[in-house]
Amino acid sequence: MFGNLFGKTTTTIATGGSDTSGDAASAGFTTFIGKVSRANSKSDEAHVVATELKNLAANIAAPNQSMVQMRDYLCRVAYICMMGYEVEFACIHAVKLAQLGTNYDKRIGYLACCLLLHRNHDLILLLINTIQKDLKSSNILDNLAAMTAAAQLVPAELIPSLLPMIVAKLQHQRELVRQKAVLCLHQFQFLAPDLLAHCKESLERALLDKDPGVMAVAVQLVAYSIQRNAAGCIHLGDPLVSVLQQIVARKLSDIFNYQTIPFPWLQIQIIKCLSALVPHSEVLKTKVSSIIRVILQRNSIKEKMAFAILYECIQCIVKMAPEKDLLDESAQHVKRFVNSSNPNLQYIGVKMLVSLVALNPAYAVEYQDMIVQSLEHKDTVIHKKMHGVLYGIACEANVKVVCSKLLQQLKISSDRFWKAELATMVVSLVSRFPVEPQWQINSLFNTLWCSSGDLDRTMLKDIKQLIGDRFLSKDCDPQCQQYLLQKCISALVSDKTAIPLLQIALWIVGSLCSFLKNMEDDKVLMLFTNLLLQENMPFSIQSAVITCIHKLVAMGIVEQVSMATKLTECLSHELPLVIKQQLNIIIKMCSLKLKVDPSDTVVMDLTLTFLDDLVCARLEAGAEPYRPSHLRHSLPGQHIILTSQSPAAPSSGLEVEEVDESMIGDRATVDSSSSPKTDTERDSSLIQPDIKRVWGKQGRLDASKEKKSTPKNLTGQKRTSSEQDNLAKALFGGLQKNEKASLKVFTGFEDDDQYDDYLNNFKTDLPGPWSNRLRSSIPENVNVETMSIRNTGIIQESFNVLNQFAMSNESTKTPKENEIDYLQLQGDINLKKDASNENNGEQISEGSLYNDLNNKLAGAEVDFDAQLSQLLEASVTSGDVHCLHRTDGFFKEDPVSKTAVSEIALENDGFLDVESCRIKHSIYTDSD
């Protein structure tokens, strides 16, 4: 039959091609095709097409064109469209032809619409009318044409306008119409599954149609529901099995036979449906496995189609996880495929082998030779699949060999998707078989080396996690760590390393930097500065380098003077401002000779126990306890800040300080005032009569008043209502621990006495406002204490945490934008410098600036809870001012709260407890 297929030569085209069977195309079309095929170059062709389009555009728009002409024009347009040229002008005419034409003209009109338009085209709206009309027509060919077009073109939002008419067609007396209707609904189901929920019954009734053709398409419809919700379609299992039995028993009309096989398409479709249903019903499983046995027996394997059915059966068997004998039988059939000389069957065979081996690696044993051969197969498609088999048979004994084969592929392949797949396999092998650590490190590194540019983020994260779990924890073998470090350093030195690998390597070096002690200082420094100064380095890498340098300095691995000189050199190069500022900080740190003992671990006090006493003291003094936002509205009579404009005095709880009405201005006013201003000046410049002052020097004003009065009130009246007690319990129950204990964690003092001495010294030594505050109230020294800790160097750890945080979220902003952010923040910092005259204070403000900035770089919108935990971390390690500034960063979506928070920061020198930050956040989110 195909002996002479396409035998006619292309020369006929060149001569104008009159030899066409069927209905001869129009002369115009023939000439056009001739011209196009004679065109020698792309530009020639474009020229021919342009002229043709010009003529067509003129002709098609001319009035009184006959339908036959119109048909011809549109055919030409559709052809030109297929060649890849713009034919937008003809779309409206296609719609018109579908509308005005009759019979064949209409059909061509619809065809042109299908070829020229798409679902979201504006003209579909015009076509809907025509489709509706044709669905109503008594001519079934019109019905069919309309439904064909509807299935292809109607967008989800227009489905309701056609749905009733098409559902009605399910009852049509002609099977052809019913068939189209079912398929049309099938398409609608894809677009808008919920719209068809009400006609589910009539759809399932189509499954019982007396015409096998309709029934067959109805199975497709059902298959979609099964795919979406297999458990809910169990009742369809039995009818499907009985249909399959009928087919296998050859009870259906033989016009549906294909190569002597009865209804193969339907068989395969049903087997597919059943394999999805089987996991949900044991009863069905026995039925299905028996019928599959029958199919396997009857299949003659003379026809190609028989292999298709066999393939589907085996896929079903593998999914069922059946008895051993059925699996063995399918293994026999798979053998037939794998050993076939037909490459297609071979491919399918290998594919099935992959899934069989996943169930039981023993099935691969007899193909040993073949697997080894196939790895060199010249058809890449087959040898790719063979690597899947290799992956399946991996065990502790052979994992090294398997991995090396996979890595070999990874090295030579250039296909992104294939590389990603290989990398997944290698990583999973390494995590499944933790044999020699050195091998693990090598495998992971080679994977990253070859493919890190092609891996997606989750994959990279998995690899990072794997390395972290296996090699970076404390009890790991130092030799492995040393080896890992060597690998990383060689990656850092090479200039061919891809960015993701660099990032991971830097992360590892940062975690293992204590080993760098053995290296010469110069070399270590060169390693990092070279990276930093390399051209076109992305910001993420530069900041990772900075993190590493921070660690080096903090842990005293590199001699600090040489570090400082080296870094000062770097400053003269072109670097993002943020990085330069970081360098400045490090240099300052170097000059201060700060150092952290690596054995001294920082334990995070995430529950903020050191604040407990403070909070309790305030509560006892009658302060309003923190209430979650959902409770806040339900308490009548409570004054809700920012939600009501009336300055009504609160009816219960605490006294709100009535201050002169002033600012909750916008952020710009704060930023722009970089010149020193006194508080009063600032207040008076921003008088807004209707807004009550909420934020003052000491945080939220009501709270701040309590704060001041705390020492006096400690022994005084106790205004504890039971309600407040309960709330306090709910909030802090179980968290109340010794404040000192938690503080010791950061200061590293061995016993209480030493700590107390330290505290006393601190109080007396501190000059200016710090000591004043300290003397005035004991709880507040918590803040000061944590601030002072930066002098011991622990603060570095917080920088690192923050840096990591910023990097892990990978900035979406360009360095340029970051710089702009930075400049804005400069405004803040200047203010702060004015506010605090001491060196100490200045450093703090710089440090906190960094936290803020890092958050901005992170640019991540994370939910408040996640942020809060970060925030707490920061507050514990570095003092509340950090926490405050981070809050500032997080709230940047919300200008009002931002203003408030930053204002507080300015006026407070950073004296602000975490609790009030939290409260503030709640207030502002509430008022939205």
């Binding site: 195909f2 065809l111 299935a151 049309c184 053709g213 395969i268 190609k304 490459p343 498609v381």
Partner: protein
């Protein structure tokens, strides 16, 4: 579900395209270009299946024409080969020993035939007889008026 079907010549000229999944025009051109080069570079003894991005490509060459379909990972490749074969059978039967030129000059017929075989990427009618019957009914309409008793004659009555 089939995502799209492309027919192209050995020279890489597109002869027919049918898209069942929505793509931008630009994307369509890019996909076509990519696949045409990929398929044309395959040697005759290689298997007809390719894994391409997240899809599977099934192609088959008949004389000077390549038939190339993209299907989803869970679809049956061998069955898709048979769909292509059925389509060729239909074209062959209809045109009487079909050639590339038939498809160029009567591409609308080739589309009609495809629409009867596949709708929205799903196989609609697997019986050769039924498809040809439906096409014949349309063709008669082309001869102006439908004669009385036409539907009865063609088994549609």
């Amino acid at each position: 579900m089939m995502q799209f079907m492309l027919l192209f010549s050995r020279q890489g000229k597109l002869r027919l395209q049918k898209w069942y999944a929505a793509h931008q025009d630009k994307m369509k051109k890019k996909i076509t270009r990519e696949l045409v080069t990929l398929v044309l570079s395959r040697k005759p003894k290689m298997c007809s299946f390719l894994e391409w991005k997240d899809l599977k490509i099934v192609y088959k060459r008949y004389a000077s024409l390549y038939f190339c379909c993209a299907i989803e990972p869970e679809d049956n490749e061998l069955l898709t080969l048979e769909v292509i074969h059925r389509y060729v059978e239909l074209l062959d039967k209809y045109f009487g020993s079909v050639c590339e030129l038939d498809i160029i000059f009567n591409f609308e017929k080739a589309y009609f035939m495809l629409d009867e075989l596949l709708l929205g990427g799903e196989v609609q009618e697997t019986s050769k007889k039924n498809v040809l019957k439906a096409i014949a009914a349309q063709d008669l309409l082309q001869e102006e008026e439908t004669p009385q008793g036409f539907f009865e004659d063609h088994g549609l009555g």
